[in-house]
């Protein structure tokens, strides 16, 4: 496939892997313990597992799978709110597909649908708006989910609804923002990270400047990375290069998509429709200040939270779940007591087991065999 295969070239991958091994040899720190690089975004986690990227790398560098899977960090109480909305007889509840399986305290949206709720999978918020136009007698609610990547399309949909004066459309806003969360992780006392792969598609919207504090204040190198396997490998190389040269900067590997200042039109739409919440609850990480957005007063008529009563309860994560430690890279997924026993993709307890971008599901699906043997074979 043109413009895709070029970024999956195995010969270039081998060259890059060789370069990375060479760099690692010059980094003294990497001799004592593996360097830990956190990929913030779930899209990277997906690529790393799908293409077997970790196996191309030596043991002295490893990935920590960060909090950037919006489905995975959704707290149970919010899923319960979704279910409560979906179960109202007048409501058509629309959602992205992979949010359907996320467990609430009693059930998932998939289960609510089986029990009779009108839950429909859409591919874009505009599809939800289309449903609202077609079903004037129903209330169509869109489950807005995701980081700055999906925020602009939701914002534009709300603007469109307002322009057309569509009264039976509203948004259940669960959009979250990545920067405060990275900051929370960096402030965590048990942190051992050596560098970051920055989220490429979030950066396409917000630009690279919001990440400056990571380098300036926390002294960690970060590379904004693309999602094809060669993008990921090259970005690892760039982070290691910074470490080897003692630099801490924000570098942009994904220049073909990401501009330093981001996308002004997208940012304007976000700014017009959304405002920061005081705090937002994250699964596994707890409450993080200013990490979520809500619909502004001016668009109150399109805000499901204002229009419908919801349980709005805070449900604690299951006690034995160690999603937080996994998210922060303190433990690996398979080191969690529940991994593969009580918590599996069939019966996920923690949300990291739910989405294919979740670290635990990815480990379970792609990584259960001992990969050390494979690694030797590929290196040889």
């Amino acid at each position: 496939m043109k413009y895709v295969d070029e970024f999956r070239d195995p010969a270039k991958a081998r060259t890059l892997a060789r370069e990375i091994r060479g760099l690692l040899a010059t980094i003294e720190r990497a001799h004592d313990r593996p360097l830990q690089i956190m990929e913030v975004c779930g899209g990277h986690t997906h690529s790393i597992f799908r293409y077997g990227i970790q196996q191309l790398l030596p043991d002295s560098v490893e990935f920590v799978h960060g909090p950037g899977c919006p489905v995975c960090v959704l707290p149970m109480g919010r899923v319960d709110d979704c279910v409560a909305l979906a179960e109202r007889p007048e409501v058509i509840f629309t959602t992205f597909g992979d949010a359907m399986r996320v467990p609430g305290s009693k059930k998932s949206l998939l289960k609510a649908k089986a029990e009779g709720a009108d839950v429909r999978m859409v591919y874009s918020p505009l599809d939800a708006l289309k449903l609202a136009r077609a079903h004037r007698d129903r209330e169509v609610i869109f489950f807005g989910l995701g980081f700055e990547t999906t925020m602009p399309s939701t914002a534009l949909t709300v603007l469109q609804a307002k322009a057309e004066n569509i009264r039976n459309f509203s948004l259940f806003c669960n959009h979250i923002t990545i920067i405060p969360t990275i900051k929370a992780i960096l402030d965590s006392p048990d942190l051992q990270l050596d560098g970051f792969l920055g989220p490429g598609h979030v950066s396409m919207v917000i630009g690279t400047r919001p990440f400056d504090f990571i380098a300036a204040h926390y002294r960690k190198p970060i590379t904004i990375a693309g999602f094809e396997p060669l993008d990921v490998l090259q970005s690892v190389w760039m982070v290691l290069k910074q470490i080897a040269e003692g630099r801490c900067e924000v570098e942009n590997q994904y220049g073909r998509i990401v501009a330093e200042s981001g996308n002004a039109a997208a940012l304007d739409a976000i700014q017009e429709v959304f405002e920061l919440r005081e705090f937002f609850e994250w699964r596994g990480l707890g409450s993080i200040d200013h990490s979520g957005v809500r619909v502004r007063e001016a668009f109150a008529e399109f805000d499901a939270e204002r229009r419908f009563a919801m349980p709005n309860l805070k449900i604690a994560d299951p006690k034995a779940c160690q999603c937080g430690e996994v998210l922060k890279g303190v433990i690996k997924p398979h080191q969690c007591k529940l991994f593969g026993s009580a918590c599996t993709p069939e019966t996920p307890l923690g949300s990291l087991m739910v989405s294919s971008e979740g670290a635990c599901a990815a480990y379970y699906q792609y990584g259960r065999i001992d990969t050390s043997g494979l690694k030797k074979k590929i290196a040889a």
Binding site: M1, R14, H46, F49, G97
Partner: protein, 358 residues
């Protein structure tokens, strides 16, 4: 008009004709309306000596069956696809090809099918005729006869337009022993063409996506292809059609039943460019997408070139390819060598494949 009516009265064996434009509850009531529907729609299309007496059962001659082999293969499947029509096929082509293929992958020669339909009140008769015409065409292509059937009509809303069940009987030739448990280390893994076409065609036909691509379902009967493969190598170890759950699911079934490892090469998978593109956009894996005219075969390594050549010489196997091989460890696991040079496990799917958010 009077003359014609008289002719009908005087020749009672002449088939009844159906004037209704839509299916009503009367068509399922057992009376004249139902008879008209059966004769004018089903019998007119499927006509054969075993069906035309319209008894409550078809009576199959054992001698004819025994001439083909020493064991019967018997399979059933129910078809509820929505929408009814899509590029490359419809529920009728599926209903015949699907059950024929379930028989064929046992190495059986498919011979007879039943056809049970559940019709929703209000279904346009024209729609039913189109579907039945497809069934007739695919049955002829597959060399099977539809010899018995049943019609039910349910109230509007109690079914979605049209459901079809077909059961089929085929005969397995002596010495053919195909089973998911027969894979041996060293064996070659072969597919007969491009993967995921049907699943993609259905996704596009559902029109939920603003995606346009010229992908047609691969729906077709595979009895002829399997016969050609068995001619080339009577000792095919495993054979299964890769319908729901796709090739990944079939390979997992083989690996688990045979307690072997199966390694496949991403670069060797036959994939249409537009299927690849659709999967790329939606975050789907073509290995899990449904096919309706694709099978996975596991054959002894020395027979692989022969089988492959026989497949490529057949219209249903033109794009056949060896996609991997059977190994010993890790047992029960399917491993994919990525085009990028890494490896990953290809597991059974949990639930439905859901598109990723971003």
């Amino acid at each position: 008009m009077n003359d014609r009516a008289n002719v009908v009265l005087l020749t009672p064996r002449r088939r009844a004709s159906l004037r209704d434009t839509h299916v009503t509850l009367a068509h399922g009531s057992g009376g004249r309306a139902m008879r008209n529907l059966i004769e004018d729609v089903f019998l007119a299309a499927f006509d054969n000596p075993l069906l035309s007496p319209l008894e409550d059962q078809a009576v199959l001659p054992l001698a004819e069956l025994a001439a083909h082999g020493d064991r019967l293969a018997f399979a059933t499947d129910t078809y509820v696809v929505s929408p009814l029509f899509f590029r490359g096929g419809d529920i009728g082509t599926l209903a015949v090809a699907g059950t024929v293929n379930d028989l064929a992958v046992a190495g059986a020669r498919p011979l007879f099918l039943s056809c049970g339909v559940v019709l929703e009140e209000g279904l346009p008769v024209e729609t039913l005729r189109r579907v039945v015409a497809s069934m007739r065409r695919v049955a002829a292509e597959a060399g099977v006869h539809i010899v018995t059937g049943d019609t039910k009509v349910v109230e509007r809303g109690a079914a979605d337009k049209l459901f079809i069940n077909t059961a089929g009987i085929g005969v397995v030739p002596k010495a053919v022993m195909i089973s998911a448990g027969n894979a041996r280390p060293g064996d070659a893994v072969i597919v007969n063409g491009t993967l995921g076409d049907h699943g993609t065609a259905i996704l596009i036909a559902r029109a939920q996506l603003a995606l346009e691509a010229d992908v047609a379902s691969d729906c077709r009967p595979l009895g002829g292809l399997v016969a050609a493969m068995l001619d080339a190598c009577p000792d095919i170890h495993c054979l299964r059609d890769a319908t729901r759950g796709g090739v990944a699911t079939v390979l997992n079934e083989f690996a688990a039943s045979s307690q072997v490892a199966i390694r496949i090469d991403e670069a060797a998978l036959p994939l249409r460019e537009d299927v690849k593109g659709a999967c790329e956009i939606l975050g789907l894996d073509p290995l899990y997408l449904a096919n309706e005219g694709k099978l996975v075969a596991i054959v002894p390594p020395e027979a692989a070139p022969r089988v492959l050549a026989a497949m490529r010489a057949h219209p249903a196997g033109r794009d056949a390819a060896v996609i991997g091989e059977v190994g010993e460890e890790p047992r029960g696991i399917v491993v994919l060598r990525t085009g990028f040079g890494g490896e990953r496990i290809v597991d059974m799917l949990v639930g439905e494949q859901l598109p990723r958010i971003c």
